[in-house]
C-alpha cells in the first residue's frame, strides 16, 4: 500500500469536486424535530457554537452569543420539513467575510426505522477557500454530532452553550 500511495499522481479534474463538502448523519428524530432544530434559534444556540440562527422563507440570519451578526444570507429553497438551501458567509471573521458567498443545503430524508438521514452539502466554495477549510472536517462534524446529541438525548454536547442562554 505505501508504495502505491507514493506513486500516486493526482488526476487533473475540474475544481468543483473540492469546492463541495458533504456530511451525512443518522438522527433518531422526526423530520419536523430536525427541521425545527435547524431553523429555530432556541435550538441552534445549543449546538451551533452558541449561534442563534433563524431560517425563514425570507432569509437566513445568525447571531453570536454576544449579539453580533455571524451570518446574513438569502434563502434559496424552502421546503419544510425536507429541504432548505441558504447562502453562507462567515461574518464572525473579517478574513472569511471578505470571501465570496457559498451555499449550504440541508436535506432531511426519513428512513423506515424511525431515524432520519440529515445531509449537509456546503458547496460553491470556489471563491471561499478559507471558509472551506474553516468549516471542513471538525467544523461541520462538530455541529452535526452536537445536533444529533441534542435531539437524541435532549442534552447539548457542550454544556457551555446552554449556559450562554441564561
Amino acid at each position: 500500500m505505501s508504495a502505491d500511495t507514493s506513486t500516486y499522481q493526482p488526476a487533473a479534474i475540474p475544481d468543483e469536486g473540492t469546492a463541495t463538502q458533504v456530511y451525512r448523519i443518522v438522527i433518531k428524530a422526526t423530520p419536523q424535530e430536525i427541521w425545527d432544530a435547524i431553523t429555530l434559534p432556541e435550538f441552534t444556540r445549543r449546538y451551533f457554537h452558541g449561534a442563534a440562527i433563524t431560517i425563514t422563507p425570507d432569509g437566513y440570519a445568525s447571531f453570536g452569543p454576544d449579539g453580533s451578526s455571524w451570518g446574513d444570507a438569502e434563502v434559496l429553497e424552502w421546503d419544510p420539513p425536507n429541504r432548505v438551501v441558504h447562502g453562507w458567509k462567515s461574518l464572525y471573521d473579517p478574513t472569511l467575510s471578505a470571501e465570496a458567498e457559498s451555499r449550504v443545503t440541508w436535506e432531511i430524508t426519513p428512513d423506515d426505522d424511525g431515524t432520519c438521514l440529515l445531509t449537509v452539502i456546503h458547496d460553491r466554495l470556489e471563491g471561499a477557500p478559507r471558509t472551506a477549510s474553516g468549516v471542513a472536517g471538525a467544523g461541520w462534524m462538530g455541529v452535526l454530532s452536537a445536533l444529533k446529541t441534542l435531539l437524541e438525548t435532549g442534552e447539548p454536547l457542550h454544556p457551555t452553550f446552554a449556559g450562554e442562554q441564561a
Binding site: 500511495t5 500516486y8 469536486g17 431515524t115 452535526l144 454530532s145
Partner: protein, 111 residues
C-alpha cells in the same frame, strides 16, 4: 444507511477501502472512473468496495450533471471514536499513554 458500528468497522477493515477514503480525503468529489484509475483491480472490484463504504455511510454520492461524485463523510468515524475512545479514555489509560510518550521522547537526543 443505518447507524451501524459493525458496518463502519467492517468497511475500515480493508486496505483498499481505506485507500479509497484516503484518495477522497486528498481530493473529494471524485467520480468512480477517477477512483478506479488509482487501482489495479477491476472496475467491478472498486465498485464493490465503494458500495461497502456507502452502506457504512463513509461515502456519500451526489449527482453532478451526468456524473456521480463521491464524497468522504467523516461523521461515522467520528461517532465511533466518540463512543469507543471516550469510553476507554480514563485516567489509567491516559497515564499509560503519558508514560509511553515520556519514555519514547527520551530516545531523542537531548540538547
Amino acid at each position: 444507511m443505518a447507524e451501524d458500528d459493525d458496518a463502519v468497522f467492517r468497511a475500515l477493515a480493508d486496505p483498499s477501502r481505506r485507500r479509497l477514503l484516503d484518495l477522497l480525503f486528498e481530493r473529494d468529489g471524485r467520480t468512480l472512473g477517477e477512483l478506479e484509475e488509482q487501482f489495479a483491480m477491476s472496475r467491478f472490484g472498486v465498485m464493490k468496495h465503494v458500495r461497502v463504504l456507502e452502506e457504512a455511510g463513509l461515502v456519500v454520492t451526489r449527482k453532478d450533471g451526468r456524473s456521480t461524485r463521491h464524497f468522504l463523510n467523516p461523521i461515522p468515524i467520528q461517532l465511533v471514536a466518540d463512543r469507543w475512545v471516550d469510553k476507554y479514555r480514563d485516567e489509567r489509560v491516559t497515564a499509560l499513554v503519558d508514560l509511553k510518550t515520556a519514555l519514547e521522547s527520551r530516545q531523542e537526543p537531548r540538547s
